[in-house]
C-alpha cells in the first residue's frame, strides 16, 4: 500500500522498510509502524477471531482497548498488535482462527450464540459434574485466545527502575506536559508516564486549530520541545501505568523499542503529588455488527492517516456524537477518503465551524441520525442509517464505518488514587467530585476540549503540585484560575448508547463477546447494578480492562430503568490497569544470597552446595547421600566443617548483661571469662527459637552465637524486647566478620597444635573453654564445643583470613587423613549424640521443656522479665504436649524413616524429626516428637512413611544419646 508521505504529522519513516512474516506471507512495513498498522497497511482487515463466537475482528482502536488485535509475535501469544512496535524480521501469526482469520472453520459458532446466554459458565456448565472432564478440553480448544506452550520462556530483558520525583504526571498530552512544565519551573522533579511512543496525546496529530489559527500539532510540538529541554522532567514513553496506590506510589512499565520490543522495565515512583491527565478515549456506539472489520473509532481512522500515512478506507460512513467526529470527517475527506454521509446523534450543539467545513466539502450531515446495522461478513460493505425515530432509513455502500457515540474520560488512575466519581449530566462523564490530598487532574479528562483551556488547566495542576511541595505561587494560581474561567468549559456530551432496533448482535464488550442482549438477560435474572451485571455477563473483564464497555454499561443499565440508582454508577477499577506480565512485576529478579569466605574452596573440594535461607552451604562432599566417609573421618580421625553461617554478635555496655538475661533463659550474671555458656532463647510462648553460646570477653563485653537462621533477626529481637528499657548497651552483628571452622575428631588437637604455639592441651583448654590465640599470627577465637560428639575446636577466624587458615589446617591434617565434611555428615553425627537442631527437633509449638532442654532455664530471675519465662512456668507440667525422644528401629536392618513421617496409633500421635543410618552403631537412629504417654523408654512407635502402602515400621523409644552417652569423647 502506498503511504501518504507528505504529512507533517507522520511518525513513520517511509524510506525505511521493515519486513516481517504474517503466517506464510512475507510483508513489509516501515520504521515507526506498530504490528497493527503494518498489517493494516498490507490490507489485513481481519486480525483474529473472537473468544466465543469466532466472529471476525479487526482494527477498532489503536491503544489496546480491546482484544481484537491480539496476535502471536515470535512465539509469544496474546501480543497486542496496536501497542507493539514492528521490528525487522518479526514472525506474526493470528490466534483463535482455524486455519486463518479470513476463513475460520469455527465461524459457525456465531450462529450458536443463542445457546450461550449471559452467565453461560455459571448456569449451563454447572451440573452434572461428570460432564466436565468431557466438556473442558472442547471449550478450551474453541474458546480463548492465544496458546501458551508448556516450556514457554518470556522473551526480552526485564529490569526495574526507581526514579525519584516530587511529582508524577500520568499522561503526556497537552495538559500533562503543561502541568509538568509548570511544576518543573517551580523546581519540582517531575516524572511523566506516557503509554504511547511519543508525547502529545489527542492534539499531537490533529491539523485543526483553535481561534488563533495555529494547527494543534504545531502548538503541541512546541510544548514537546519545552518538556524535552527541561532538566527537571523525565518523560517515560511507551510506559503504561499499571497501578496507583496510597502514599503516592505509582507503578508502570516501559516497553522496549525495536529491535527489542519485548524488553520491559518495571518502574516504581513514590512522589508527593500526582497529576492525572489521561484524557479521553472514545465511547463506542452500539448497533448490530458494531465490531465488523472496517468499523472503527474516529481517532483510529484519523491517526491511521495522520500518524502512519494509511488511508483507513475508500468510502466512509460516519456515525458519531461529538465534534471530534466531524473534524475527522472533514480531514479524511481532504486526505482523499470519500465520505458518503456523516450521521450525528445530536440535533444541535455542533461546532458551527465544523458544520461549515462539512458543507463546504458537500458532505451530507444527518442530524439526529445513527447507524443501526453494519453489513458484510469479513469486512463492512454497507451501513444502514436511521433517523431518531427509526422511521427513516437509508443504506449506504462503504468500506469504512467510523462510529463512536461520545468520549469517555480515562479515570482509572484517578480512582485508584482514591478519587470518588460522580455522574456529570453536562458531559455525560463520570468525574471526580472530590480529590484526595495531593492528587490533581486536568485536561480533556475533565471534559474540556479546547486547546488553551486544556493547557491552562494543566499548568494550574502543576502549580497545585508545587504548592503541595511547599512552593506556593498564589498569584500565578489566581491568574490561571481566572484565565480558565474565561476559556471554554467542558463540552456537552451525549449519553446515547445504542441505535434503535438493534441489540442481538450489538457487542458491548468485544473481549468477552458480550452483547447488549446478554446484558438484558442479566437484568432479567434480577441483576440491577452494573458491578454485578459486569460479573454475570462478563462485560469488561478481558484484556482491554473495561476500555470498550466501561462507560457504556452503566449508561445502558441506567437507561434500562433496571437500576435502583438515581444516577448511573460506574464499575470498580482495579490494578493492573493494563495487562502486565508477572515477569514484568518481577523486574530484575534479584535473588541476593550470601556465600561464606570458603565458598569457592568448598566447591573445589567437591562440595555439593545448597541454598539454606540466605546462605549457600555444602551438603556433602561426595556422591554418597549418606556421607559415610565424612562421618567416619570425624569419628576416627579428623574433619573440618565450614560453620561460618553461625550468627555471631558482640554486645557490650553497662546494661549488656541485663539484655542477655532478658532474652536468654539462663542466668547470664554468671558467665565466666574463660568458658562458653550454652543457652537458649524462647519466644513469649516459651517455645524454642534459638540456641547458642555466650562468652564474656571482658567486663561488660560479651560475644555470643546464634543459629544460622536466627542471625538475621537477632538484633531486631533484642532491641524489640528491650524497647521500653532505655538500657545502655551496644550490639554489633559480626556474623560475616568471622568465618567458623569446626575442627572435630580424635586427632583435632594434634592438627591444631601444628598451626599454633598456644597450649591447646585438655588441661590448658578444657571442654567448653574459650580462648583467644594466634594461628600464624592471626588472632583467632576458639571454643571447645562438641556438637558432633567428638573432641572439637570451633575456631572463629577473621573472614579475610579464612581461606588461609583453612588451607593451613588442611595441610597440617593431611597426615591424619583430614577431610572436609558437610551438613549431611554433621546431621548424622549430632543425631547420634541427640543434639537438637532448632527447626528440626522443634517447630512453632515446641517448648524448651519439650525437647529436654528445660535445665537451661533459670527459673529464679524474675527481675529480668525474661522472654518466655512466664510461659515456661505455665507449660512446665502441662499435659498433652509432644516430647522429644530417641528411637531405634525394631528391625536394625530396616531403613531409617523419612524425616517428618507420622507416628500413628489409629491417629497421629507424633512425628519423626530426623532419622539417619548410624555407621557407628550400625543401625538407624532417630529423634521424634511424640505424645507424652508414648515417650517412656521402651514404648513402641508405629511409623507411617509416605509411600509405605500401609506397612508401618516399628521403632522403640530408646536411651539417649545413642553415641558416647557419658560424653567422654568430648572431654579428652
Amino acid at each position: 500500500m502506498i503511504r501518504l508521505n507528505h504529512l507533517p504529522t507522520l511518525r513513520i519513516n517511509p524510506g525505511a522498510p521493515r519486513s516481517f512474516a504474517y503466517g506464510r506471507r512475507r510483508l513489509q512495513g516501515v520504521e515507526g509502524d506498530t504490528v497493527a498498522t503494518a498489517l493494516f497497511a498490507n490490507g489485513v482487515r481481519v486480525f483474529g477471531r473472537s473468544l466465543k463466537y469466532h466472529r471476525p475482528r479487526g482494527l477498532y482502536s489503536l491503544d489496546g482497548e480491546s482484544s481484537n488485535t491480539l496476535v502471536n509475535v515470535n512465539g509469544v501469544p496474546n501480543v497486542c498488535a496496536e501497542t507493539t512496535p514492528l521490528a525487522e524480521g518479526m514472525r506474526v501469526s493470528s490466534q483463535n482462527a482455524f486455519p486463518t482469520p479470513d476463513l475460520d472453520l469455527l465461524g459457525f459458532m456465531d450462529a450458536l450464540s443463542w445457546a450461550m446466554p449471559a452467565g453461560f459458565y455459571y448456569r449451563v456448565l454447572h451440573k452434572p459434574a461428570r460432564l466436565w472432564p468431557l466438556a473442558v478440553p472442547v471449550i478450551r480448544k474453541m474458546a480463548g485466545v492465544g496458546t501458551l506452550p508448556p516450556d514457554f520462556q518470556a522473551p526480552g530483558r526485564r529490569d526495574e527502575i526507581y526514579p525519584a520525583a516530587d511529582l508524577c504526571v500520568i499522561g503526556a498530552g497537552v495538559a500533562g506536559m503543561s502541568a509538568a512544565l509548570a511544576a518543573a519551573e517551580a523546581g519540582l522533579r517531575v516524572v511523566v508516564f506516557e503509554s504511547r511512543p511519543w508525547p502529545g496525546g489527542a492534539f499531537e496529530y490533529r491539523p485543526g486549530a483553535a481561534r488563533d489559527g495555529v494547527p494543534y500539532f504545531q502548538k503541541t510540538a512546541e510544548l514537546i520541545a519545552a518538556v524535552q529541554a527541561s532538566p527537571h522532567i523525565r518523560l517515560f514513553l511507551n510506559a503504561p501505568v499499571i497501578g496507583v496506590y496510597s502514599n503516592g506510589l505509582v507503578t508502570a512499565f516501559q516497553r522496549g523499542r525495536p529491535p527489542h520490543p519485548f524488553d520491559e522495565r518495571y518502574i516504581e515512583v513514590r512522589a508527593a503529588s500526582l497529576v492525572v491527565t489521561t484524557g479521553c478515549i472514545e465511547r463506542p456506539l452500539l448497533f448490530d455488527h458494531n465490531e465488523r472489520p472496517g468499523v472503527m473509532q474516529a481517532g483510529c481512522a484519523h491517526r491511521l492517516a495522520r500518524t502512519w500515512g494509511i488511508l483507513p478506507g475508500h468510502t466512509a460512513v460516519f456515525s458519531v456524537g461529538h465534534d471530534l467526529g466531524l473534524e475527522v470527517a472533514a480531514d479524511l475527506f481532504d486526505l482523499g477518503v470519500e465520505i458518503a454521509a456523516v450521521a450525528d446523534l445530536r440535533q444541535d450543539g455542533m461546532d458551527p465551524a465544523l458544520v461549515d467545513a462539512l458543507s463546504q466539502r458537500r458532505i451530507p450531515l444527518l442530524r439526529g441520525w445513527s447507524v443501526t446495522k453494519a453489513h458484510g461478513r469479513n469486512r463492512v460493505t454497507k451501513a444502514t442509517l436511521a433517523g431518531a425515530n427509526g422511521r427513516f432509513r437509508k443504506t449506504l455502500d462503504c468500506d469504512l464505518l467510523v462510529a463512536s457515540a461520545g468520549l469517555t474520560p480515562v479515570t482509572g488512575p484517578l480512582t485508584l488514587a482514591g478519587a470518588r466519581l460522580a455522574f456529570d449530566e453536562h458531559t455525560g462523564f463520570f468525574l471526580p467530585d472530590s480529590l484526595p490530598p495531593r492528587v490533581h487532574t486536568a485536561g480533556r479528562l475533565t471534559g474540556r476540549q479546547n486547546w488553551h483551556a486544556v493547557a491552562a488547566s494543566g499548568r494550574l495542576a502543576g502549580l497545585y503540585a508545587a504548592r503541595d511541595n511547599g512552593i506556593d505561587q498564589a498569584a500565578a494560581i489566581d491568574e490561571l484560575v481566572h484565565e480558565l474561567g474565561a476559556r471554554p468549559g467542558p463540552a456537552r456530551g451525549t449519553q446515547f448508547v445504542i441505535a434503535p432496533g438493534s441489540g442481538k448482535k450489538a457487542f458491548i464488550c468485544f473481549d468477552e463477546d458480550a452483547t447488549v442482549k446478554n446484558v438484558d438477560q442479566a437484568m432479567d435474572k434480577g441483576f440491577d447494578v452494573p458491578e454485578l451485571i459486569k460479573r454475570f455477563a462478563s462485560v469488561g473483564t478481558g484484556p482491554g480492562q473495561g476500555g470498550i464497555p466501561g462507560h457504556n454499561l452503566p449508561l445502558y443499565v441506567h437507561q434500562s430503568g433496571a437500576s435502583p440508582d438515581a444516577h448511573p454508577r460506574p464499575t470498580t477499577v482495579r490494578v493492573p490497569l493494563v495487562p502486565t506480565f508477572l515477569a514484568t512485576y518481577a523486574g530484575t529478579r534479584l535473588d541476593m544470597s550470601k556465600r561464606t569466605p570458603l565458598h569457592a574452596l568448598q566447591e573445589a573440594d567437591g562440595g555439593r552446595m545448597e541454598r539454606l535461607g540466605v546462605w549457600h552451604r555444602a551438603r556433602r562432599f561426595s556422591e554418597d547421600g549418606r556421607s559415610r566417609e565424612e562421618i567416619l573421618a570425624v569419628r576416627t580421625a579428623v574433619g573440618m566443617l565450614d560453620a561460618s553461617t553461625l550468627g555471631k554478635f558482640r554486645i557490650f555496655g553497662p546494661d549488656a548483661v541485663k539484655v542477655l538475661d532478658r532474652v536468654y533463659v539462663g542466668d547470664m550474671t554468671r558467665v565466666p571469662r574463660t568458658r562458653a555458656k550454652y543457652s537458649a532463647m524462647c519466644n513469649e510462648d516459651g517455645c524454642l527459637t534459638d540456641d547458642g553460646v555466650i562468652v564474656r570477653t571482658s567486663d561488660n563485653d560479651y560475644y555470643f552465637t546464634t543459629s544460622t537462621g536466627r542471625a538475621g533477626v537477632t538484633v531486631e529481637w533484642i532491641r524489640y524486647h528491650t524497647r521500653f528499657d532505655d538500657w545502655d548497651f551496644g550490639i554489633v552483628n559480626l556474623t560475616d566478620a568471622y568465618g567458623v571452622i569446626n575442627l572435630a575428631g580424635p586427632e583435632a588437637r594434634a592438627v591444631l597444635q601444628r598451626v599454633t604455639d598456644a597450649d591447646v592441651s585438655n588441661e590448658a583448654f578444657p571442654y567448653m573453654g574459650y580462648r583467644e590465640f594466634a594461628v600464624d599470627e592471626i588472632p583467632v577465637r576458639a571454643m571447645r564445643l562438641g556438637f558432633v560428639g567428638e573432641l572439637s575446636f570451633e575456631l572463629h577466624v577473621p573472614a579475610s583470613w579464612m581461606v588461609h587458615i583453612w588451607s593451613l589446617l588442611m595441610k597440617a591434617g593431611k597426615d591424619f587423613g583430614i577431610r572436609p565434611f558437610g551438613l549431611e555428615a554433621q546431621n548424622t553425627l549430632r543425631l547420634e549424640k541427640c543434639h537438637v537442631i532448632i527447626g528440626s527437633e522443634s517447630e512453632q509449638r515446641t517448648t524448651l521443656h519439650d525437647v529436654g532442654l528445660g535445665f537451661l532455664w533459670h527459673r529464679d530471675k524474675p527481675w529480668a522479665k525474661t522472654v518466655g519465662d512466664v510461659a515456661l512456668r505455665q507449660t512446665e507440667h502441662q499435659p498433652g504436649r509432644l516430647k522429644l525422644v530417641g528411637f531405634r528401629m525394631a528391625d536394625p536392618s530396616a531403613a531409617p524413616p523419612k524425616d517428618g513421617s507420622a507416628i500413628v496409633d489409629r491417629r497421629i500421635r507424633g512425628y519423626v524429626c530426623a532419622s539417619r543410618y548410624s555407621f557407628t552403631l550400625k543401625e538407624p537412629v532417630g529423634l521424634a516428637l511424640v505424645e507424652e504417654p508414648l515417650s517412656a523408654k521402651g514404648s513402641s512407635l508405629d511409623i507411617y512413611e509416605n509411600g509405605c502402602g500401609g506397612q508401618l515400621a516399628r521403632a522403640e523409644v530408646s536411651e539417649t544419646p545413642f553415641y558416647d552417652p557419658e560424653g567422654r569423647r568430648l572431654r579428652v
Binding site: 529490569d159 526495574e160 527502575i161 526507581y162 526514579p163 525519584a164 523546581g187 522533579r189 516504581e268 513514590r270 530484575t588 534479584l590 535473588d591 541476593m592 544470597s593 550470601k594 556465600r595 561464606t596 569466605p597 565458598h599 540466605v614 546462605w615 558482640r650 557490650f652 555496655g653 563485653d701 545502655d728 551496644g730 550490639i731 554489633v732 552483628n733 559480626l734 556474623t735 560475616d736 566478620a737 568471622y738 601444628r754 598451626v755 599454633t756 604455639d757 594461628v775 600464624d776 599470627e777 592471626i778 577473621p798 573472614a799 579475610s800 583470613w801 579464612m802 581461606v803 588461609h804 593451613l808
Partner: protein
C-alpha cells in the same frame, strides 16, 4: 608459626585485568586496571578500615580528632577519614589508606571484616543506583556528603553519597560481607548499559582528593 606471603581475601572479585597491583597489610590490592575507560567505575574498597561506634554521647566515643556529625545521616570528612552518623547512638569511622591513628576503645568495634565496601563513581553513577534502589539518593534538599541506610539491590546497605557534580559522581556502599558475589553481579549487570568498568584504588583516591579539595 609464621608463614611467608600469607594473604587475605577480599569479599568481592571484580572483572577486569589488573594493570598495577600491590600488597598492603596482607591485602592484595589492584591500584589500577587495564583499560578503565572514562566511567562509570566500580572500585573495591573492602580493605579500608571501618569502625562501628555505639554509645552516648556519640562524639565522646570516637577517638579521632574529627568533628562529630550532628544528626543521623550527617557525614564528616577530614583528609583520608570519614565519620558517618547512623543514629542517635551509632556512628561509623571509615579510614582510607591507613589504619585509625588511635586505639578504637571499648565502644568501637572493628567491622572491616563484617562488611564489604565498594565505590561506584563517575558519570551514570546515579542511573545505575536508581536501577537497584528506591532510595532518593539525589534529593536536592540534602547537603552532600550524606549517609543513607536502606536497601540497595534488596540488601540493607550503608550508602554514602559523596559527590554529585557531573563527572565526579561518587557513592560508597557497604553491606554484609557474604553478599559480595551477588552484590557485584547486581551492580555489574545494572551498570552494563552504561559501560561500567572495574577501577583500581587509585581511581577512587584521586576522586576522593578532588572531592575533599572541593569541600574545604
Amino acid at each position: 608459626m609464621k608463614s611467608d606471603n600469607r594473604l587475605r581475601q577480599s569479599p568481592v572479585k571484580l572483572d577486569g585485568r589488573p594493570h598495577r597491583t600491590q600488597v598492603r597489610d596482607h591485602w592484595p590490592l589492584v591500584s589500577e586496571y587495564a583499560d578503565e575507560g572514562d566511567g562509570p567505575w566500580l572500585v573495591d574498597l573492602s580493605h579500608c578500615h571501618r569502625i562501628d561506634f555505639q554509645g552516648k554521647p556519640l562524639g565522646a566515643m570516637i577517638p579521632e580528632s574529627l568533628p562529630e556529625p550532628e544528626a543521623p545521616g550527617d557525614v564528616r570528612i577530614q583528609d583520608m577519614t570519614m565519620i558517618t552518623r547512623m543514629g542517635n547512638v551509632q556512628g561509623c569511622l571509615w579510614c582510607f589508606g591507613q589504619a585509625p591513628a588511635n586505639p578504637i576503645g571499648f565502644n568501637g568495634t572493628d567491622i572491616t571484616e563484617a562488611t564489604l565496601a565498594l565505590a561506584i563513581a563517575g558519570r551514570h553513577t546515579f542511573a545505575i543506583a536508581e536501577k537497584l534502589s528506591s532510595l532518593d539518593l539525589q534529593s536536592p534538599g540534602e547537603a552532600l556528603p550524606r549517609l543513607y541506610q536502606g536497601p540497595f539491590a534488596r540488601v540493607p546497605c550503608q550508602i554514602v553519597v559523596l559527590d554529585a557534580v557531573p563527572g565526579r559522581e561518587m557513592l560508597l556502599l557497604s553491606c554484609s560481607r557474604g553478599y559480595g558475589r551477588d552484590m557485584v553481579e547486581a551492580i555489574t549487570n545494572a551498570g552494563a548499559e552504561f559501560h561500567l568498568r572495574s577501577a583500581g584504588e587509585d581511581r577512587f583516591m584521586g576522586m576522593w582528593e578532588t572531592m575533599t579539595r572541593g569541600l574545604s
